[in-house]
Point group: C2
Chain length 286, copies 2
């Protein structure tokens, strides 16, 4: 990477990077597809390795939106993609700049979905088109079906379907994306602690059984904050002895699909991507 | 206590005891009020001290309903009260007897509310009237208002009202009774792990702020599984540095009201019991 604007021959995609492996995977995919890629990383969240995988990189503190816009403009990015998420608990460490403050004051709630949406609006106002990771790298989306060699047992199908229903209905409260279910009991509900902490807790209560289910919120803007799984999710489930995982087909990012499925197969876990009928508001025939 | 039937001069109240201090407190109150009291304790759940505070006592294993009925009949109990709760995670350790099994097979879900309701029905079928702890010891119910010396700050009022709304709406899913909120974010949702574990988790995310709110499920049978707080709740909140607690007036049991409030006052916490307009199905003018 170098801290200089790429030459002006093609559109530049700017990654506004949160935590985890997704920004790195996305950067690799975009460059492999021939795009020019720059990134802004958030201090304390983003993997520093990302700097090595892009054509321009800068650090910002959480809430310094003006700085993000300045970097993206300098690099002449015309498209921006946010990915990797910011730990929800971090939003209380934010020292917002004037732009962030003006935005926050105009918001009804501090739910991160609302925050993210407002960020998207600011980008659009500054001439950048916000893209979703799924939109620019659709191969990251989960295909429908049983994705592992192991099929769910009848009990696991029941855990997954019940979890899918409960997580979908809880989605409207904008609390979190995940639940763990077992025998028609909701064992754990994800909120600010995040999926990893929920898995660990559920493991002590599930005794080698149950399913983790992650779904989108109803009506969720698919450019933002899609449920994401990967090898770490599988490792965590294995450690917690939770043998089944249900996700939403076409609306879940799987980081490193092949590696993730190979790991799940090695552990004898089952991974199912269910299709949900789209609500009219979310998808219409083109 | 002695393992003999009390003489037949007055109705005998049988406590079907779960865990925690509530069965002991209830037994003391009932005996202080002149009642004769017997109790069945659940192995691994009930405080053995209860045996010293009642006129008849026996241990049973979880799920041995026939044994419970046998003891209550032997003692000629005509009223039964269930209190103290069974750890939700214990329902998977149950080795049900024939009666329990027959009941479980007839149930649509394993939610503990449904289970408790079925137990109530069996008791009624065997000639015992099920009473609620609140009904036979109404002084245990939370009165309305700010119960501590410290009034909530405007931010704490907001956390409490938001938590009350969210917990009430989540109630219909029959997942748990509690949430922790802070600045219009649901920090934690209680499921099988229970209130104590949720408080501990929320404490690491709340940074000295926020409110725990516990409410009844909508339409909840008030004889069963009322939200309960006491000194332990206050100690846990203090350890987690969560300074505010919201409960539902008239539908929350407070164990040792005076001690609980004195402790909250000592820690500078605020405790508020809010009134919720009853739905027509739940309460009608007599």
């Amino acid at each position: 990477m170098a801290d200089r604007p790429p030459d002006g021959s093609a559109p530049v995609i700017g990654i506004i990077a949160g935590n985890g492996a997704l920004p790195l995977i996305l950067a690799d995919k975009l460059r492999a597809d021939g795009h020019r890629v720059v990134a802004v990383g958030h201090e304390g969240e983003t993997d520093p390795e990302l700097a090595q995988r892009v054509d321009g990189f800068a650090w910002v503190k959480l809430g310094k939106f003006k700085t993000i816009l300045k970097h993206l403009a300098k690099w002449r990015a015309t498209e921006a993609v946010m990915c990797g998420g910011i730990a929800k608990s971090s939003i209380w460490r934010v020292r917002p700049d004037a732009l962030a403050l003006r935005m926050a004051l105009s918001l009804r709630t501090l739910h991160d979905d609302v925050l993210l949406r407002a960020i998207a609006q600011i980008l659009e106002d500054h001439g950048m088109t916000l893209r979703g990771p799924a939109e620019i790298a659709p191969s990251l989306l989960a295909p429908a079906g049983v994705l592992t060699r192991r099929q769910p047992t009848p009990e696991q199908w029941e855990d997954i379907h019940f979890g899918f229903e409960m997580a979908s209905r809880l989605g409207e409260f904008d609390i979190g994306q995940g639940v763990v279910t077992r025998q028609r009991v909701v064992v754990a509900v994800e909120a600010v602690e995040g999926t990893d902490a929920m898995i660990a807790r559920a493991g002590t209560l599930c005794r080698g059984d149950g399913a983790l289910v992650k779904v989108c919120k109803p009506g969720q803007d698919l450019r933002l904050d899609l449920p994401t799984i990967g090898s770490r999710t599988i490792e965590n489930l294995h450690a917690a002895r939770i043998p089944a995982l249900g996700i939403e087909a076409g609306r879940t990012l799987i980081m490193d699909l092949a590696d993730t499925l190979a790991l799940a197969d090695r552990y004898g876990m089952t991974l199912v991507a269910l299709e949900r009928p789209a609500s009219p508001a979310e998808e219409k025939p083109a």
